[in-house]
Subunit: 453 residues, 2 copies
């Protein structure tokens, strides 16, 4: 058999995970990565920390360089190669090298890891001081702008976790920050009680949050710089810097044009092997769908952890292995100033939309024994009245949140019912938890409510 | 029906949990708690923090006072009532009030929550400056001794979690501390790699650990004070204070004498309703056995969390409810200076002793993304080669340990196999975890080892 070639489009989390995994499985396989940018394999989730200065140098975010992959892993990483077309019939892709020179690369197996694109859709996004925090190159430009121009006032459009993390970073740099949020609540999908805590944290650090404020246009000056963001019915906020953080949409056009099936979410449909509808073509990361294990439905939840897992499985299978990725339970955590906010599973509204009969309790407890300065934890548990099954959990607090939400995530993975959660053997010592962990308190409250009904 | 009376022997964690739960279920029930000491319902696990001074006043450890229970919950708490005999045939107990006055109390249901007793068995334990840290009264005496006598040098016998927590507390108070450990390792049941980290932490804080050093006698002076502890074959350590932390044994004699079945562990045998072998008699807490959900066998693991759960279930059933407590997976966490150490499930040796075919991997990772000062985490995973089932996990590190061991505990509760753990949807953001959580890294290493064999 002649040497097989695996081509991977995109060299960030999913793409490089696929490449590395394929290499481990098959030392003979030829592996070509086509990356349109100048960086591979960096931690996108670390960008706000580079912005704040907590991460001093961008190179710290780069897990491995292109040279490393070329030399140590024999992976042919080609930077500044933007793929423009996939021809599944002839098993080849067309790319532009350095935005000009056409290149054709044939493949035996293909992994599409084109990622997501900022969901930008208002006039003025092209102005010089309008930024996103979605990729390394853009964030390097943003930080350089801040350090050179010293803007004093930033308007952030969107209050998803990136918007909030950037707000934190900019306040850290001494800027005045306004957030425009088009909906009623920060952090889409967060329950009102938890969202309230986040708003309090923002307020406590001087961030002004304007809700029900859909940004409409960004106005600029003669020099091509943004000066204000217009929102809602006549609102306007002056800005010396605009950050767009309205989420991302899957970069799936390339796949769609090639006849690869796109799911209802707009992202590429994949099975548990990360195989698309087209033979020999896999997809992974922010361009692909993922199965939600609570609803059983494909969904779009672009996150770094999922991208790594999907990439790994795609690489494994593209190299002839037998990996599978069953899906996610929707776990997310973010740090907003001193507050950690986390969720897993479905909120009440999502649960109802998926045909469950949700009920919920909200409790307050502490992160440690009270007598050694435990910090408050707010936790909400959602379950299905019909079956008692846990559907979701959200938490907020200053410590002990991230890995505690994981305990709830495990309960979702195990499809536990609330009555099975009353006496879980969770660790206890005064510095780490109260004797009844907040999660057990919530489960017991839920059980009481179930027993009464 | 005449008014029913529930009698509870012991008023700390299990006993007061039982009383409170019974009261909630049945407002009419007469509830009598016979407690031999002067305190009820305090956090035993907080005693080392009271000792160090982190908890300023003993009253902070008391969750509710006897008065609270009497007045707010109509629970007849009788302090300084030591039960001397149970007569199951006549459904009554005999007690001594204030060590002198005999009292007889009849019951319809009885909960035995007599707790555990320090496992002391060497000459000299009666000397005036020999202490334990097992109950509030004893710990109050110990702290008073330290503050009044200002001893400079302590010898701690035993390096279980209480021995280590007390070592931490005494160093915090400026004392020179020596620990005598009879076995090869600190923290019984800890894996060698994890134990090594603990030893390093002790060493780093000036604590001298002498292993293979079984204490034989405590020698004293003419005033009845201890002056040294003799150990092994001729060793001796001078001491101005001796702390015995060699674990506890169940206080089960009262039950045994009454014909209640004692399990092979020496603790009272109970079913999942906390019922003993004798009709209408329940047992809970440090005097009772508990089922280990990994082995399926009854075991003796006296811990505050379990005592609370068992007490609650005993109280529920004694009041006519239908609670059940299936058991534990053996989760434990402790803080030793800056280091947190945790375990859940079985170690390799225990797994082998229970007929499994254990295999294990040990990995090092970090508590956060490396680029924002993640701290090292050492994790060991144990699984069964025959089935792939997870059997246990141990971890050590300066942050992110306690609730991370809970994720492994959840995997044990759910009886997960290693291949099911590769892609768990655990929370990720740079301040809380690396993109592949240490637990996922360990699971992936385990899976590699399984695939190779």
């Amino acid at each position: 058999m002649p040497q097989q070639r695996l081509v991977i489009i995109g060299g960030v989390a999913a793409g490089m995970s696929a490449a590395s995994r394929a290499r481990k499985l098959d030392p003979q396989l030829e592996i070509v990565v086509l990356e349109k940018g100048r960086h591979v394999s960096y931690g996108t989730c670390g960008l706000p920390y580079y912005l704040s200065g907590q991460v001093a140098d961008a190179s710290e975010l780069v897990v491995y360089t292109a040279e490393f992959f070329r030399e140590k892993r024999s992976i042919d990483v080609r930077l500044e190669h933007e793929v423009t077309e996939i021809e599944p019939g002839r098993k080849r892709v067309h790319a532009l090298r350095s935005r000009a020179q056409p290149v054709v690369v044939e493949y035996d197996k293909l992994v599409i890891a084109t990622g997501g694109a900022p969901a930008l859709d208002i006039p003025g996004v092209q102005l010089s001081n309008v930024f996103t925090c979605n990729d390394l190159a853009g964030t390097i430009r943003l930080r350089a702008f801040i350090e050179e121009q010293r803007p004093r006032r930033a308007v952030i459009v969107g209050s998803g976790y990136i918007g909030l993390e950037v707000a934190d970073a900019l306040v850290h740099r001494g800027m005045e920050v306004v957030i425009l949020e088009r909906s009623e609540s920060v952090l889409e999908g967060i329950e009102p009680e938890i969202g309230e805590r986040v708003e309090k944290a923002l307020h406590g650090h001087g961030v002004r949050l304007i809700k029900n404020a859909a940004a409409r246009t960004i106005s600029g000056n003669a020099q091509g710089g943004a000066t204000a963001v217009q929102y809602g019915a006549g609102g306007s906020e002056p800005a010396e810097l605009v950050l767009l953080a309205t989420g991302i949409v899957p970069r799936s056009e390339l796949a769609a044009t090639a006849g690869v099936r796109i799911g209802r979410t707009g992202a590429i449909a994949v099975d548990e092997r990360m195989l698309t509808s087209v033979n020999s073509i896999y997809a992974a990361g922010d361009c692909a769908e993922v199965r939600h294990l609570v609803t059983g439905q494909p969904t779009y939840l672009p996150l770094g952890t999922t991208a790594n897992k999907q990439g790994r499985v795609a690489g494994e299978n593209a190299a002839g292995g037998h990996g599978r990725f069953d899906g996610v339970v929707g776990t997310l955590v973010t740090q907003v100033f001193d507050l950690a906010v986390a969720k897993t599973g479905l909120n009440v509204e999502q649960a109802r939309a998926h045909g469950f009969q949700p009920d919920a309790v909200t409790i307050t407890s502490t992160s440690r024994a009270k007598y050694i300065a435990g910090k408050p934890i707010l936790a909400k548990l959602v379950w299905d009245r019909a079956t008692g099954r846990l559907l979701g959990c959200q938490m907020a607090g200053e410590e002990g949140i991230a890995k505690r939400i994981d305990v709830a995530a495990m309960a979702l993975h195990a499809r536990m019912r609330v009555p099975e959660m009353l006496h879980l053997d969770l660790s206890y010592a005064p510095p780490f938890a109260p004797v009844w962990d907040p999660l057990l308190i919530a489960a017991n409250e839920a059980h009481k409510k179930i027993s009464r009904s």
